[in-house]
């Protein structure tokens, strides 16, 4: 076979490939692996289905009770709140399903044998994580927007305001936090079942740990706000991003004599979420680099 027969793309393993060329190759490889995977479509479909149910319910409410409006741009918070809570979980599951089997099928090993360095295999999966976060943001935004078209409530332009944008950033950070945690578990355990099991068990463990920390020490109590699931949960809370909603809620709570809601700064929580994500991804990378395939 002559060189001309090989096609014109340079092997990603070679030094000759540009960064952009390598990125394009990794995107192509991961897109082929992912889009033909039934488990990926099932996960995405269930997530889209949940979103559809939430917004259909909102439209029905708007039809029955005209005082509860469902229209843009005021309803972004209602569109984003359900996915901000469940989306990160779906991204975690999808990430495990797209990474862990690469070890049990030994395709990660074969990819490296074929010329993809471990580093580039890892980079390919980071691209998958980023793509999942984008996809799982686009789905609720798209489904939500379409749903408002069927709502009787009157609205204006679907413009995304600063608070809505912050909420979206928080949602993406939550997805990255769960996705990178799932990435680490998949890379360490190399088994979908075990990784998902640990992910679920961790949720319970964090609640127990949080309670213990609060009960055992006054100084440890506030630290529970910075545990991974708690950070994601707070980031997903609409009250953190919409001061007028928080004010309404707290006014109601004041009337009822209940304690007022307080939140830490969004910026601080964002940094903590990013730090956790980075720590999880670095752990996964070190494990993949050190361990045999």
């Amino acid at each position: 076979m002559s060189g001309a027969d090989r096609g014109n793309s340079s092997p990603p393993g070679s030094d000759g490939g540009s960064r952009l060329g390598i990125f394009g190759t990794l995107v192509r490889i991961e897109a082929l692996k992912t889009t033909k995977r039934l488990a990926f479509w099932v996960t995405t479909g269930i997530f889209a289905g949940f979103n559809a149910l939430f917004v259909i319910s909102a439209v029905r409410t708007a039809i029955r009770r005209p005082n509860i409006t469902f229209a843009l741009p005021d309803s972004w918070s209602r569109i984003l709140e359900p996915p901000a809570n469940i989306g990160p979980f779906f991204v975690g599951v999808a990430m495990i399903l797209l990474l862990a089997p690469e070890f049990s099928w030994r395709t990660a090993r074969q990819n490296v044998i074929d010329g993809l360095s471990k580093k580039r295999f890892y980079a390919g999966k980071i691209i998958v994580l980023a793509a999942l976060a984008v996809l799982f943001l686009v789905i609720p935004v798209g489904v939500g927007y379409v749903a408002t078209l069927f709502s009787p409530s009157e609205g204006g332009s679907p413009i995304i305001g600063p608070a809505d944008f912050n909420y979206m950033i928080a949602y993406v950070l939550g997805m990255l936090l769960w996705g990178s945690g799932a990435f680490m578990l998949a890379a360490l355990l190399r088994s979908s079942g075990a990784a998902m099991g640990i992910l679920f068990v961790y949720l319970l463990l964090e609640q127990i740990l949080s309670r213990l920390m609060t009960e055992l020490s006054e100084t440890l109590g506030p630290a529970t706000d910075f545990l991974p699931a708690e950070v994601q949960s707070t980031l997903a809370n609409a009250f953190l991003h919409y001061p007028q909603l928080l004010a309404q809620e707290n006014a109601m709570r004041a009337e009822q004599g209940r304690p007022l809601l307080e939140f830490r700064d969004f910026e601080l929580l964002a940094v903590v979420a990013l730090a956790f994500s980075a720590a999880f991804l670095i752990t996964a990378f070190l494990s993949m680099r050190k361990r045999d395939l």
């Binding site: 090989r6 096609g7 070679s14 082929l32």
Partner: protein, 325 residues
């Protein structure tokens, strides 16, 4: 044996694979650790068809795993195409086509899509995918999912993937596993064609007659260590053997087992083959006559690669027999 192809600046044949005391130990605690590969030093030159032989668990796949970058060595070093630094090795591996143990592909993807993944990694275009599918006889089944393939078809797909980038070095680990005799013959033919094109082939197998027919050079590995290496002819003729026949083969075998110059004794076709430390058959004859055993046949015996292999790895098979019994 013919060593063809490129030479380095000093006119010496270029070493495509070179290992220097390459070792791999599994486990960190010395007491519980396993030394899978123990100071293996081999050199495979351009154009060689190199057979890497050893019983199961002798360290063949681990050695290959280190060469292709999926297993981290714990000692020694190696080079591929002269490259030994991690960064250079990544580039060198782009010139290698390899398959290890069982074929590893995405079960939910078709044969063609699996090759697309490999082709993207290797930087190869669609026409070459179709060419390789034709070459291994999978063009008709290319659209079917990998999970529906028979083991023989999986092996063929692995071979197609290996050849996609027209590699200069082809590493095949048990390529005939699961193939019927016709399939094995085809694999042998493909290896011959590739060798004829000047490709360097590193073949790990336990099908010794296949290796003897196909390979120019061979290394035999036992418990992680190289116990014999050289051209097939050198390895086969390294030891002297004799075929003896007598009226009472049991007595003959027992006497030969006690002969100080015998390294191994085994029955063969009504006679007994003895591997000897020297080619002095006269002394052997006198020894037997002294025991009252008069042989009806005593002649030098040309050992096959299988004979040499079994002699060199005899202990391993004994232990397997013990386990089985």
């Amino acid at each position: 044996m013919v060593v063809s192809g490129r030479a380095d600046v000093y006119g010496e044949p270029m070493a495509i694979i070179e290992t220097f005391e390459l070792s791999k130990r599994y486990g960190t605690r010395r007491a519980n650790s396993v030394l899978a590969v123990d100071q293996v030093s081999i050199a495979v030159e351009q154009g060689q068809v190199f057979g890497f032989l050893g019983p199961n668990g002798s360290g063949k796949t681990t050695t290959i795993g280190m060469l292709v970058g999926i297993i981290n060595p714990t000692g020694g070093s190696f080079s591929l195409f002269g490259a030994s630094e991690p960064r250079d090795l990544v580039a060198a591996r782009a010139r290698v086509g390899a398959t290890l143990e069982t074929p590893n592909f995405y079960p939910y993807l078709s044969g063609r899509d699996n090759l697309r993944v490999t082709a993207a990694i290797k930087g190869v275009g669609q026409p070459r995918i179709e060419e390789c599918l034709e070459l291994v006889g999978l063009a008709d089944r290319a659209k079917h999912r990998f999970r529906t393939y028979s083991l023989g078809m999986k092996q063929r797909l692995a071979l197609a993937a290996t050849m996609l980038n027209d590699p200069e070095l082809i590493i095949l680990d048990e390529p005939a596993n699961g193939l019927d005799p016709q399939g094995m013959k085809e694999i042998r033919e493909i290896i011959r064609i590739l060798a004829g094109r000047g490709k360097t082939i590193f073949l790990s197998s336990h099908l010794l007659w296949e290796v003897e027919r196909t390979c120019s050079h061979v290394s035999i590995v036992r418990k992680g260590r190289i116990v014999a290496t050289g051209t097939v002819e050198e390895v086969v003729s390294a030891g002297t053997a004799a075929l003896l026949k007598a009226e009472d083969p049991d007595a003959l075998e027992a006497a030969l087992a006690d002969y100080p110059g015998a390294s191994s004794v085994r029955r063969l076709d009504g006679g007994v083959v003895v591997a000897l430390d020297s080619d002095d058959l006269g002394t052997l004859n006198r020894y037997l006559a002294g025991l009252g055993i008069h042989v009806s046949h005593l002649a030098p015996y040309r050992q096959s690669l299988e004979d040499v292999f079994i002699d060199l790895t005899e202990g391993d098979f004994d232990s397997m027999t013990e386990i089985a019994s």
